[in-house]
């Protein structure tokens, strides 16, 4: 019987010839990660089993969700991670280095590897053909201690996309379409395997946007075939030897195959308070917005900032709408700086934040006021997400976000590009 991408990677990680959806396997873990919100608890759990991580050089702790620290308590959590990494040899990603998943893609993960993170968007790495999944602190702590985890091999939904994305429509819109179609729990426990000519033509950055949001349909992971673009990226990042081709078998068994014609897609908006509450731009146009946030592990890369800057160039944000831009990592920040993108944002009236998660999870750098609405390029719009249960979060592509910042209301980016 043929295997899907998820089955192939998990067969290899568990040392078996073949696995199928539903099998339970023990998989060797290649990268174990936890940020400061879940890391201290993961470390405490690990310490109940072992004094040190099994593979310190592949155990990475991040200070990114609330960095620099907004409170004394969080500063102490940061100190705990610094002390632990110094003593154990585990790696630390400091204030200003960037969002965990972006940094893991840049410097750690490679095709065919297993990535366990104490953060739900660990599925981001699927764009490189690596199996990433989010787990809680106990599971990650145990993986740190033992260097392995147990996994139920997921069944797979194949998402086959054909046709060119129309002008003004991006990978984010395509993924919002997928989530709207599946529902927030439509792919619970499944692997989403993306393929087809449209995915082949997407940049790696756009592919990361899609895999990042697999969990928003409930999926365990999102995967794509590693191709020439991944090969080139790994070479640029100094690890060309890590490239590996992995393909699903032609006779792989899919629980569902979902065909999407990209040519018919429009800019989309996820409306409050769930990601699957997806509306067309026509339905949402004119909604007043008090804050636009461009950044995150979903859409905070150079490509995203470039698209937003091209729309904001020579324009100003609406006087009633503040604009926050947070590059996903230090390297993204530097490149955006060198390309002049940050200058464009500053001239347009934006506040540029240091690399990290920024305003996404309501801890700092852009908490919303009562009754306010934010249009964000992030992945999640649950009630209370941005620090206030009486606020409203809309999700879109960077292009829609930039166009909306200029008009102060949700705006069709096709009007301005």
């Amino acid at each position: 019987m043929g295997m899907t991408l998820a089955e192939k990677i998990l067969a290899s990680a568990s040392g078996r010839e073949e696995v199928q959806g539903g099998d339970l396997v023990i998989a060797q873990v290649d990268v174990m990660m936890a940020p400061e919100g879940t890391g201290p608890l993961a470390i405490k759990q690990m310490l109940t089993l072992r004094e040190k991580p099994a593979r310190p050089e592949r155990t990475i702790l991040f200070i990114d969700h609330a960095a620099p620290s907004p409170t004394r308590q969080t500063a102490n959590a940061h100190m705990f991670l610094r002390k632990f990494t110094k003593e154990s040899g585990a790696r630390l990603s400091e204030v200003g280095d960037g969002v965990c998943h972006q940094r893991i893609v840049e410097s750690y993960i490679s095709p065919g590897e297993i990535y366990i993170g104490a953060d739900s968007h660990s599925c981001t790495v699927g764009a490189l053909g690596a199996f990433g999944t989010g787990m809680g602190s106990t599971d990650v702590g145990v993986a740190m201690a033992l260097g392995k985890t147990w996994l139920r091999v997921p069944d797979t939904f194949r998402i086959e996309v054909t046709g060119d994305l129309p002008s003004g429509v991006y990978a984010k819109d395509l993924m919002l379409h997928v989530i709207g179609r599946l529902g927030a729990d439509g792919a619970t426990y499944k692997s989403l395997e993306f393929g087809g000519e449209t995915i082949d033509r997407l940049s790696l950055s756009s592919r990361l946007t899609m895999c990042n949001m697999a969990v928003e349909a409930g999926a365990k992971t999102g995967l794509m075939e590693p191709d020439e673009k991944v090969k080139r990226y790994l070479a640029e990042r100094g690890r060309p030897e890590k490239f590996k081709r992995i393909q699903p078998d032609e006779d792989a068994r899919y629980e569902q195959v979902i065909d999407i014609d990209a040519t018919g897609l429009e800019p989309l908006i996820a409306s409050p308070h769930t990601v699957d509450n997806v509306k067309t731009i026509e339905e949402m146009e004119g909604t007043p917005i008090q804050q636009v946030f461009i950044g995150t592990c979903t859409n905070g890369r150079v490509e995203d900032l470039g698209i937003a800057a091209s729309i904001l160039k020579g324009k100003k944000r609406h006087p009633d709408t503040r604009l926050i831009v947070t590059p996903a990592s230090r390297d993204v920040y530097l490149e955006a700086l060198r390309e002049g993108l940050l200058e464009t944002f500053v001239e347009a009236g934006a506040s540029i934040m240091g690399p990290g998660c920024g305003a996404c999870m309501g801890v700092h750098e852009g908490v919303l006021g009562d009754g306010e609405s934010c249009l964000s390029t992030q992945n999640r719009n649950f009630r209370g997400r941005m620090g206030n249960p009486d606020a409203f979060i809309y999700l879109s592509s960077p292009a829609t976000a930039a166009a909306s910042a200029i008009k102060g209301e949700i705006t069709d980016p096709r009007e301005v590009i």
């Binding site: 919100g37 879940t38 989010g134 787990m135 809680g136 145990v142 033992l146 619970t188 801890v363 649950f382």
Partner: protein, 169 residues
């Protein structure tokens, strides 16, 4: 395994981890008893102050969706909740709850109302609604999950058995 008994607290669909443990209490992540004072505050503000030991959370579909923060399961347990019944659970929350030893059972919760007295036989997966005099069946919990829960969670399981709970097909 044990039988638990308590009053039902009703919740709707899509109770996210942002509703269970809001980001604005991020600074309390290392102080679980303080964090537990705000458990489910944005879904039902009166819950944290009034929940009694043994009470049961009864919810709709996709309970616990969103962030992987295990603190969500931890503070529900600390608040004294003995079990969570829902039409369905989000994947990460489900695994987190079992890992720290709080029973999570899938069943049709439409025949349970606020304040109903429930008695749950965990291993058999039977829910008795004592107030209404009816018996409900839950979806069987996977064997691996039952084995972790029987030891009180993943860490006690590994300490006792010396390894992860599964191996082989």
């Amino acid at each position: 395994m044990v039988t638990v008994k308590g009053k039902a607290w009703m919740f709707g669909d899509s109770i996210s981890t942002d509703l269970i443990t809001p980001g604005r209490y991020f600074h309390l992540r290392e102080n679980l008893p303080e964090l537990a004072k705000h458990v489910l505050e944005d879904a039902r503000p009166e819950f944290a102050a009034n929940v009694k030991k043994g009470d049961v959370i009864v919810a709709g579909k996709n309970f616990g969706l969103g962030s992987s923060r295990e603190h969500a399961a931890q503070v529900i347990k600390l608040a004294g909740v003995s079990a969570i019944l829902a039409k369905s659970f989000a994947r990460i929350f489900y695994r987190n709850a079992i890992n720290i030893g709080i029973p999570v059972l899938e069943c049709d919760t439409s025949q349970i109302e606020e304040g109903d007295e429930l008695e749950i036989e965990l291993e058999e997966g039977i829910v008795r609604n004592l107030t209404k005099g009816i018996e409900l069946r839950t979806s069987p919990m996977p064997a691996v999950m039952l084995s972790i829960l029987a030891e009180g969670g993943l860490i006690p399981y590994i300490k006792k058995h010396g390894d992860l709970p599964v191996g082989g097909r």
